[in-house]
Point group: C2
Chain length 206, copies 2
Amino acid sequence: MAKRVTGPEIERLIQLLAKLPGLGPRSARRAALHLIKKKESLLVPLTVACQEAVDKVGICSVCGNVDTIDPCTVCSDERRDASVIVVVEDVSDLWALERANAISAKYHVLGGVLSPLDGIGPSDLTIAQLIERCRSGSIHEVILAVNATVEGQTTAHYVTDQLAHLAEDGITLKVTRLAHGVPVGGELDYLDDGTLSAAMRARTAF
Amino acid sequence: MAKRVTGPEIERLIQLLAKLPGLGPRSARRAALHLIKKKESLLVPLTVACQEAVDKVGICSVCGNVDTIDPCTVCSDERRDASVIVVVEDVSDLWALERANAISAKYHVLGGVLSPLDGIGPSDLTIAQLIERCRSGSIHEVILAVNATVEGQTTAHYVTDQLAHLAEDGITLKVTRLAHGVPVGGELDYLDDGTLSAAMRARTAF
């Protein structure tokens, strides 16, 4: 702001809100004013929720999910099929698959994808921990639910190679990946050639 | 979420973030994950900033601005012309005028506009306080910087009427409003008829 019109505490709040994904400087100002106007009904509860997150939230030591307990809610859920591990890039992917109710299994969050240009190698991801989980012998299937990007597919190939080495120790696993195809509700006319070709190759009986 | 995948504290944080203007349920989830991942650099400072806002922020008893001091930064700024009051609907309008460096004067935040359909009458706004400020006799001009909406203009007319009553006590003020016209940088082709007519009527020497 050109001239100071309000206290530095409020300007600091605006600056921090502007760092959230989806909020720019202008919407952060709107959000800060909204918070201040709804002090009792929104600002106070949000402060409490942030403080609780600071105090309690951590990364699950087993799968890498974000939770207030360790092992996390998913890892400690005994109704899930513990012999299937769904490998995802990020916690948000885990949450998306759970929202879709796609499978009732365990997860493993890689924490990113292999990207030599950004200096991200295998040791920056939780690939070693995944191999260790599979070495226990109780895992029958690993589902590679990484994004369909170049980096995601590279990572999937690398993980598959690493898992293949387990055969030397007598451990064999089924390694699968998500199907490519036409998104449900999607129109063919708007789809790219790669998706259309993949959907045609993987056609199923009607 | 269909099944619980994380702690209730995190879900509560997501719910509260989703109440901010500009954030929906999906972007609130992204924001919450972003906060948790950047715990030390973002979540902790934001928690502190929220707590400071809870403790210190209030409404200026003179003008209605939001600040950590009372009277607010604007009201206690002695370099401003204290004989001019800019009347705005909302604190965000005050901040917008200050960002634009439009004038160096004092402000008065009405806290809304007259809207009989929503049950908002003169007593719900700070019109009485504005009249009281003007009654002191040191005010020479009141600039009505309300939005160019029907409700805004109705409110402007009502405030003008109230200010006119001050003449009975021997207090006369100049009451002005923002100019209507072509926005700077705007293209005529995209402007509505009302704006174009107003700009034509208020044409100035070149």
